[in-house]
């Protein structure tokens, strides 16, 4: 009899990982098809970023957004980019300049983001512009900051700067009031910190993937980043703040269900271990 019971504890410790993999897919598909809409509480750091964007972009101000991530990270960066871009587009009488200096996929991701954003009557060229990608990472950042007309000759579609009203009167970074840095790796925030934030003390709000969150936290406490939105969780909270549920809100249900599933498996493994007399079950 004991061997059968012992068998159970042993099996609880050595469940075939493939069963876990199938269950993960199931608990992701279910909420995606019929959202559980679990309540999302907005953490202080995301709310702070939201409030700082309002604070640093009063009517008449100029905002630069850098899209320094790759299509591979869209699952986490997309919702943040869409939510923060939508927030800026809903603000009256501000000029929005979108660009990329670290990742050549930036301009494509600007267009992809705009597909999800309601431009609220803002006109391309007059209120916002996509300047495209500038090769050279830090050297491009440095020359943009010191002499915008020197570096920027046309927008992403080849229209000369002179014919783009939104760019008129912009000489250097001192003419920019707020900078949104959306990054997933390097080149990213580290380079903008050295080339833009440190020399020009420009107000920067950041958006990044979950893994970079802890590493960027010290810059928020030191004030170099006025605010920071991190990971799918931050994206979901921001969607709630602007009242426009999107991919992140749906995704967060699946984050909760998968995390609960893994915790359940961990508990199973430990119960099996302790009930089985603290003997390690045979390797799976």
């Amino acid at each position: 009899m004991t061997s059968a019971k012992e068998g159970i504890w042993n099996r609880m410790q050595t469940i075939d990982p493939r069963i876990l993999y199938i269950l993960i897919v199931v608990v992701i598909i279910l909420p995606l098809l019929s959202p559980l809409a679990l309540p999302i509480t907005v953490t202080s750091s995301t709310r702070n970023a939201y409030e700082k964007i309002d604070e640093y972009s009063p009517p008449g101000s100029v905002v630069v957004i850098a899209y320094e991530f790759i299509a591979g990270n869209w699952a986490e960066m997309g919702p943040i980019a869409v939510a923060m871009t939508q927030h800026l587009f809903s603000k009256p009488d501000i000029r929005i300049i979108m660009l990329a200096m670290g990742r050549d996929e930036g301009p494509i991701l600007v267009e992809y983001t705009l597909k999800y954003v309601d431009t609220m009557g803002k006109v391309y060229g007059e209120d916002y512009v996509n300047l495209g990608f500038f090769a050279g990472a830090e050297s491009a950042m440095a020359s943009f900051a010191s002499d915008i007309p020197g570096l920027v000759k046309t927008d992403y579609y080849g229209t000369p700067i002179e014919q783009i009203p939104v760019m008129s009167g912009l000489n250097d970074l001192n003419d920019v009031d707020l900078f949104l840095c959306l990054w997933s790796g390097t080149p990213g925030w580290g380079e903008y910190l050295r080339q833009w934030q440190t020399p020009y003390e420009i107000a920067v709000i950041g958006g990044t993937i979950g893994i970079n969150g802890p590493g960027a936290q010290p810059y928020v406490s030191s004030g170099q980043l006025k605010g920071l939105v991190v990971g799918l969780r931050g994206g979901g909270e921001y969607e709630k703040l602007i009242g426009k549920p999107g991919e992140a809100t749906a995704g967060l249900d699946a984050v909760s269900t998968t995390h609960l599933l893994i915790v359940a498996f961990i508990i199973l493994g430990n119960v099996g271990y302790f009930a089985g007399g603290r003997r390690v079950g045979g390797e799976a």
Binding site: L32, E76, G210, G231, L232, H259
Partner: protein
């Protein structure tokens, strides 16, 4: 016509996605096919970059700007191929010696500055909260775990025995936390792929 190509593309992308996901289940020709496709494309992409570099940087500088010095890296690069000949194999060490010299020089320069001096400076700057003091002590304690020989007896019997054990506990807390924190980032990538399969491919949205 255009969206026909896109539609075929989505079906091909979905097929490859399922082939890659089949890896843990059974050794199938499906994964093997996706693997060989991915390796072939990966090598092609980097080879194109390599050839472009050689042509656009080295050859063009020689031909158009007459900078003859570019002959040196081209010859060094060709020297790599001598590895395939028994007699001249020794020549392939010259370009490798150049690369290793650069790597070692960079590591001994920027590493020492960025990972030693800067880390110590940021640990001891403005220690005014309990957490920052605790952090500093934890760094010291964790370093004792890595001692190799000087004070080896200390480490195995003396005071360092306890500090290095404490260091291991700090490390375990860190490793568990980094691991747990990364699960969300990885899950959101999987959610992204499954969203593609459900809504873009099967159009269940």
């Amino acid at each position: 016509m255009a969206d026909m190509i896109v539609e075929i593309g989505i079906w091909v992308a979905a097929a490859y996605t399922l082939m890659i996901f089949s890896y843990p289940y059974k050794e199938t020709p499906l994964f093997k096919f996706a693997e060989h496709t991915m390796i072939g494309l990966g090598i092609a992409i980097t080879t194109i970059m390599g050839v472009r570099n050689i042509l656009d940087i080295a050859v063009k500088s020689i031909v158009e700007k007459g900078e003859i010095t570019w002959i040196v890296p081209i010859l060094l690069g060709l020297a790599l191929f001598t590895r395939y000949s028994k007699q001249y194999a020794w020549l392939s060490r010259w370009p490798l010696a150049l690369l290793v010299g650069i790597g070692i020089g960079l590591a001994m320069g920027s590493d020492v500055d960025a990972s030693f001096v800067t880390q110590i400076r940021s640990t001891v700057t403005g220690v005014d909260t309990l957490n920052e003091a605790l952090l500093g002590l934890m760094v010291i304690v964790t370093i004792t775990y890595f001692i190799f020989s000087i004070g080896k007896e200390q480490r195995e019997k003396g005071v360092f025995k306890h500090t290095s054990q404490l260091g291991r506990y700090v490390m375990m807390l860190c490793f568990g936390a980094v691991f747990g924190n990364t699960i969300m980032t990885r899950m959101s990538l999987l959610i992204g792929r499954i969203t593609f399969l459900l809504f873009e491919w099967l159009k269940l949205g």
